[in-house]
């Protein structure tokens, strides 16, 4: 099995891999060019205005954070629940988390008018008195949440990776690769004492990551929930956002898995059972999200608040209602097809449906942000929003970055947690006393 997993790393990459890398790198460069232009010229190159101060930027941010969450959930929560099937996907899910958080982390920085002063949100000792930061601001919470999330996810991922790195190291003939993997594997030798601590550390990290992931998206949701804007100021947001994140995250994991198992020929490890399980999760979270949508309307209606009611009427029927109906269509209606076993076992169908969910969840954030802002209290300030090519290019660029990182990851690191899968596999065969 080691050979199977390591094959993509050790052999020559396929043309499919090269093609995918070329496309995603190109996309990434487009995004980089757009960001360079925007940072050097001004946020004015985005379609924002005095009324709609956030749109693509924060939409992308929340979207990517949401994508990232599924990775942590798969590896941490499923680990805690002893869901053994997770071992096949957790490594790439964690990598997905890391790359998604990287993509997400870019947006809060570049959305600033003066990104070169982004360090102003960090409470560092300074010569201004010293002047600290506003710990009451959800953006400061965001900074702490995202950086903690990234670091903990990275550590969790790397801790899981160390035994596999050692495996590869020991498979290699002496040379550069062996040296590199030797350094990266921290001198791991599979010693009993190390494994002894390792198991607890891994468990505790999973235990920490689980509330962390919930807290991160809750904090992201407070960006909106703590504000005064109708459509944002809602206590439902933290659970709603977390559910949305799981929903979109699982959809993204599915999308990627379907590609990876095909491209990397890992059908034996990423089985239909995995896909089936994840499809079921997608249906479940879609239901939660649908209830959240309905609840928002109910709350607005029940609040007897003109502004609150208006915002939701405006979402569904106003000038940007297309975004709302895309969201509902993709997040509530299309996932219902997954009730059917036949569709769940059809990879193409699942792939298409998950793409829809990804689109829908992107639009969910867009709807929340833009339609709430564009018509708030004073009718005199109502405005519309349309993205500029720069913003679209930035979004494309973030996908480019994500896929580039992911493709490189697939090439250089084991996609499947060998150490864990072996545990599971051997465990299953112990009765027979067989070896692989």
């Amino acid at each position: 099995m080691t050979r199977d997993v390591c094959a993509p790393m050790e052999g020559k990459p396929t043309w499919m891999w090269w093609a995918a890398l070329a496309v995603s790198t190109a996309a990434m460069l487009v995004g980089a060019a757009a960001v360079t232009y925007q940072v050097s010229t001004g946020i004015g190159t985005w379609g924002l205005n005095r009324t709609v101060g956030w749109a693509f930027d924060i939409t992308n941010f929340v979207f990517w954070i949401g994508i990232g969450h599924a990775g942590t959930l798969i590896s941490a929560i499923l680990f805690l629940f002893r869901q053994r099937w997770r071992t096949a996907v957790n490594r790439s899910a964690e990598a997905m988390t890391l790359f998604a958080v990287m993509c997400a982390g870019i947006f809060p920085i570049i959305h600033m008018g003066r990104p070169w002063l982004a360090f102003f949100v960090i409470p560092y000792w300074n010569t201004r008195g010293p002047l600290w930061v506003n710990f009451r601001s959800p953006l400061v919470w965001d900074f702490f949440a995202i950086s903690t999330y990234f670091l903990i996810s990275a550590v969790f991922w790397y801790i899981g990776l160390i035994p596999d790195l050692a495996t590869i190291r020991d498979r290699e003939k002496p040379g550069l690769r062996k040296t590199v993997f030797g350094i990266l594997s921290f001198g791991w030798n599979g010693s009993f004492r190390t494994w002894h601590h390792y198991e607890l550390v891994y468990l505790l990290l999973a235990g920490l990551a689980t509330p962390l992931v919930l807290s991160v998206h809750s904090i992201v949701s407070t960006d909106f929930a703590t504000s005064v804007i109708p459509g944002w100021h809602t206590t439902i947001f933290p659970p709603y956002f977390v559910a949305g994140a799981i929903f979109s995250g699982f959809a993204m994991v599915l999308t990627l898995m379907i590609i990876v198992r095909k491209v990397m020929r890992l059908e034996n490890y990423l089985t239909m059972r995995h896909i089936d399980a994840m499809c079921k999760l997608v249906i479940a979270t879609s239901g939660i999200v649908a209830i959240a949508y309905a609840t928002e309307f109910f709350t607005a209606m029940y609040s007897a608040n003109a502004y609150e009611q208006f915002v939701f009427m405006n979402r569904a029927l106003g000038p940007m209602n297309w975004a709302y109906w895309i969201m509902v269509g993709c997040n509530v209606i299309t996932p219902q097809f997954l009730w059917f076993k036949k569709i769940r076992s059809n990879l193409v169908a699942v792939f298409i449906l998950t793409i829809f969910v990804n689109i829908g969840m992107w639009f969910e954030r867009f709807v929340i942000i833009v339609t709430s802002l564009h018509r708030d209290f004073l009718p005199s300030s109502w405005a519309l929003y349309a993205p500029t090519p720069i913003e679209i290019a930035t979004l494309i660029g973030s996908f480019g970055l994500f896929f580039t990182a992911f493709l490189i990851f697939c090439r250089v690191l084991p996609v499947i947690a060998m150490g864990e899968v072996k545990g599971v596999l051997t465990f299953g065969r112990r009765a027979k006393g067989a070896t692989k």
Binding site: W125, N126, T127, R128, G129, P130, L131
Partner: protein
């Protein structure tokens, strides 16, 4: 069983030691608060050459001319003001060189049995030139008057609106911010003029008062930033 010494790449203890030292050092740097590190824009100690070698030590120190005689805006305006050349001329219409130079010339003249020649020091000649005056301190039509381009030493960023009068009128001495100017031949920036320096003085003043009088030094942002 005994421990076997590590011989790995850079042996673990050595590495650990290095790491710990680096950490302690880094943390120390942070705690010192960039003390020794000069941040961009901090011009503390700036002591440029001026177009005229005016000595504050001579004027403010030895001659004990009141600061406000020349910097007359200090209690009236946001700018203390660099004195106009006409202010210099109040004295330097007559005083054209140092006392020592006059006496030397007097002695020499007495020795040579001739009336002493007028002496004009090289630095003061620059002043007269700026005003377009001849050696007799009369306007010289051939000379164009050109303003003196002093090199500005104390400056705060454009987004800081400092007001001298607000400070001078509550009794803050000039030296408190500008240092012992009366001892400087060439003027030097004494304080860092950073925000922390301002704010901490405001805080202290609120506690201790200034010149025995209680004051209310605001630390609101808009006091300086607007």
């Amino acid at each position: 069983m005994t421990e076997v010494p590590e011989t790995g790449w850079l042996g673990s203890r050595r590495l650990t030691t290095i790491l710990v030292i680096a950490l302690v050092f880094g943390a120390g740097l942070l705690v010192v608060g960039f003390g020794p590190v000069r941040l961009a824009g901090n011009q503390q100690g700036y002591e440029p050459t001026q177009p005229i070698a005016f000595s504050h030590r001579l004027h403010a120190g030895e001659l004990a001319i009141d600061c406000m005689y020349c910097h007359s805006g200090a209690d009236k305006s946001r700018h203390a003001g660099v004195p106009a050349a006409s202010i210099c001329m109040n004295c330097h219409k007559n005083v054209t060189s140092t006392f020592g130079a006059f006496r030397a010339e007097d002695d020499l003249a007495k020795k040579e049995k001739r009336p002493p020649r007028p002496i004009i020091s090289a630095e003061l000649r620059k002043l007269y030139d700026a005003l377009g005056l001849d050696d007799a301190r009369k306007p010289d039509p051939a000379k164009a008057a050109t303003p003196i381009q002093w090199v500005r030493i104390h400056s705060v960023p454009d987004f800081v609106h400092f007001d001298h009068s607000a400070h001078v009128n509550v009794g803050v001495t000039c030296q408190q911010c500008h240092g012992t100017v009366q001892a400087m031949d060439r003027l030097r920036q004494d304080s860092d003029l950073g925000m922390g320096w301002c704010v901490n003085c405001h805080r202290t003043s609120n506690q201790t008062g200034i010149a025995g009088q209680p004051v209310r030094a605001s630390i609101d942002c808009a006091t300086c930033h607007h």
